[in-house]
Symmetry: C2
Subunit: 344 residues, 2 copies
C-alpha cells in the first residue's frame, strides 16, 4: 500500500527484455506485433498494474479525447438533460466530457473558453449566456479549426453546426392553441431578444396572432430574464393593462409557474379566466395544479445529436463543407392550464 511510482511502458519493456516501442504497439494491438508477444505484453501489463498515462499520449498525439461543454447553468432540467445526452454519446465514443457553467456572465464564459482551449479539448459544445453579445472568445476555436457545436442558445455570428429546438413553431403552436381555446387577447412573456430562441418564440407568437386575424398589441408583450421573480413582475404588469389578456404564452415554464401562482393568489382562475402555456416541459409542469401546458424540447436527444455531430467533425478533421442547423421537433403538450372545460 506504499505510494509507488507508476509503471510505464519502459518498466514492462525491461521486464520482458524488449523495447518500449514494442510494448507501446503491443498495448495498442498493433497488428505488426506478433500475436504471442502482444498477449505477453498485455498480460504483464495487467500483472504489473500498468495504467497508461493518457497525458503523455495526448501530448504526443495532439489529441485529448475530451469534449468541453460551456453552458449557462448546470442545475436546470433542460440543461442537465442535454449534458446527460452528450455524456452518453461521448462515453460510448471514448471521449471524456468537461463541463463549465458561465452563470450567464460574459466574463466567465470568455475565461472558460480560454481555459478549455489551453486544455486542448478536441471540440466544444456551447450554449451561450444571456449577457453574451460579443463572440470573440470563440475566435480562438474557429481560427485553429477546433470543432464547435452550438445548441439551444445559438448565435448567427458564428459559423458552426447548431442544434436547436423548433422555437418558432413551438411559439406558433402554443399561441395557435390558445387562440383555438378562445383566447382573443393573447399576451406574451418573452426572454431577452439578443438570444435567437426568444426572437423565434416571439416570431411564432406574432405570426399565429396575425394569421388568426388578431391584433399584435405591444402592450401585451413583456420581455425579461424569465426568472420566477420576473414572471411575477410581468403578470402584475399585464393585469394592470387596460385590456386584460385572456391567455398568456410564456417563453419558459418557470415564468408560466409564477404566473399561475400569482393568479391563484389573486383568485383569478386558470384556465377559466386566463389560460397559460409555458415552454420546455420542466418536470414540475406536469404535476402542478393546474398542470401546465407547454412545449416539449427533446433535451437529451439534443445533447446526443450535438455530441454526435461534434465527434463526427473531430474524426473527419478539416472543416465540413457546410454547416447545418438541425432543428429538433417541439411538441405541444396540452394540459389543464390551457383547456377550457367544455360546457356540459
Amino acid at each position: 500500500m506504499t505510494k509507488q511510482t507508476e509503471t510505464t511502458i519502459h518498466d514492462i519493456a525491461k521486464r520482458l527484455n524488449i523495447s518500449a516501442s514494442t510494448v507501446s504497439r503491443g498495448l495498442n494491438d498493433n497488428p505488426l506485433i506478433s500475436k504471442s508477444t502482444r498477449l505477453l505484453i498485455q498480460l504483464t501489463a495487467q500483472e504489473m498494474g500498468y495504467r497508461p498515462n493518457i497525458m503523455a499520449a495526448n501530448l504526443r498525439t495532439r489529441k485529448t479525447n475530451t469534449i468541453g461543454i460551456i453552458l449557462p447553468l448546470i442545475n436546470r432540467h433542460f440543461f442537465s438533460s442535454v449534458i446527460s445526452g452528450i455524456e452518453d454519446v461521448a462515453y460510448n465514443c471514448g471521449f471524456a466530457v468537461t463541463i463549465s457553467q458561465s452563470n450567464d456572465q460574459y466574463e466567465k464564459e470568455a475565461k472558460i473558453a480560454q481555459t478549455l482551449f489551453s486544455n486542448r479539448v478536441d471540440g466544444l459544445i456551447v450554449s451561450i449566456g444571456m449577457q453574451t453579445k460579443r463572440f470573440d472568445h470563440f475566435r480562438l476555436f474557429t481560427e485553429r479549426e477546433v470543432p464547435m457545436v452550438f445548441f439551444d442558445r445559438v448565435v448567427d455570428e458564428i459559423e458552426a453546426h447548431k442544434i436547436v429546438a423548433d422555437d418558432y413553431l413551438g411559439g406558433y403552436k402554443a399561441t395557435e392553441h390558445l387562440i383555438e381555446q378562445g383566447g382573443l387577447w393573447v399576451a406574451h412573456i418573452g426572454g431577452p431578444l439578443n438570444l435567437k430562441i426568444y426572437r423565434d418564440r416571439l416570431a411564432g407568437y406574432k405570426d399565429a396572432m396575425q394569421i388568426a386575424g388578431l391584433p399584435v398589441d405591444e402592450s401585451l408583450i413583456v420581455h425579461n430574464s424569465l426568472t420566477r421573480t420576473d414572471g411575477t413582475q410581468a403578470i402584475k404588469k399585464l393585469l394592470k393593462n387596460p385590456q386584460r389578456p385572456h391567455a398568456i404564452f410564456c417563453a419558459n415554464d418557470t415564468t408560466a409557474l409564477s404566473v399561475i401562482l400569482h393568479l391563484r393568489e389573486m383568485r383569478i382562475k386558470v384556465p377559466d379566466e386566463i389560460m397559460v402555456v409555458g415552454f420546455s416541459n420542466e418536470p414540475f409542469s406536469e404535476v402542478v395544479t393546474p398542470s401546465i401546458s407547454t412545449i416539449r424540447q427533446p433535451g437529451f436527444e439534443m445533447g446526443r445529436k450535438a455530441a454526435d455531430l461534434l465527434i463526427r467533425q473531430i474524426r473527419q478533421k478539416g472543416k465540413p463543407s457546410r454547416y447545418q442547423t438541425i432543428v429538433m421537433p417541439t411538441e405541444l403538450i396540452i394540459r389543464e392550464s390551457s383547456t377550457r372545460r367544455l360546457p356540459e
Copy 2:
C-alpha cells in the same frame, strides 16, 4: 485564418533572443526574472497569440488541475445541484471538472474510474451507484493516494472524507412529524439497503416510531429503487395491507409524488386520509397539489464542501491524519401533504 501551428515558448524565446526557460518563468511570474523582461515576455506572448499547452505542463508537473466526478445520473435535481456547487468552487480554485454518469451500473462505474485514473485526475468526487456492492475499482486511487471524497451515497468500506446529509435525523424528523400530526400507523417506502443513506433514513424512521411507543410493523415497510413506477407499486401494496397506513414516509420525493398521484386517482384524500412526506425537496414538490412535505438536503452546499475538502487534500499532499464524515443539516419542510386541517 489558416490553420497555423501553435506558438510555443520556444517561438517566443527565439523572437526575443532569450532562452525558453526564461520565457517559461516569465509567463509564470517567477520573481527571479526581472520585472521588465517578465513584462516583455507576457506582452510578446499575447501579441503572438500564445496559448499554453497545459497537457505538456501537466505531463511535466504530474498534475492535471482536474477533478473527476462520478455519479449515478446527471439529470436529477439533487445531483445537478451538487455538480453546480463543485464546479463553482473548482473553477475559483483553477480546477477543471470532468463528469461521468454511471447510470447506476457497476460495470460502467468501474470503467469510468479506470478512465479517470488514466487521465490522472488530481482527485475524485463520487456518489456510488445503486448496484455497486464491490469497491475494488477505487483501490487504484487509494493505493496511489489520489484524494477521493464521497458524497450522498457513501460507503463504509473505503477510508475517505465523506459528505452526507443528515439522513438519520431527516428520517427521524419526517416520521416524528407524521406521528405528531396524528399518524399511528406510519408506513415507509425506502431504497436499497446496500446504500447507507437508505439504511439511515430507515433507522430514523424506526427510532421515531419506537420512541413514540408505536409498533414497527414490517408489513408497512417497502424497499425498492424509488422510481416513479416503484412508488406506484409500493402504494398499491400498502393499500392492500390489512392495516391501512395513516401516513407514509417516502425515501425520496419521486416516490412521494407517485404515491400522491395514485391516491388522487383512487380518490383517497391527501393529507386527510393518508399523509405523505418525501425526501430531497425536488423543485416539483413545492408546486404540486397538495404540495409535498419533505426533507431539504443542501445539494449545492454539499457540492461546494466536497470540492473544498478535495482540493485541500490535493494541495497539502499526503494522507490527512484522519478522515472526517461531514454531516450537513437537513431541514423538515412542512407543506400540505402532511398537514391535517385544524378542526374549526
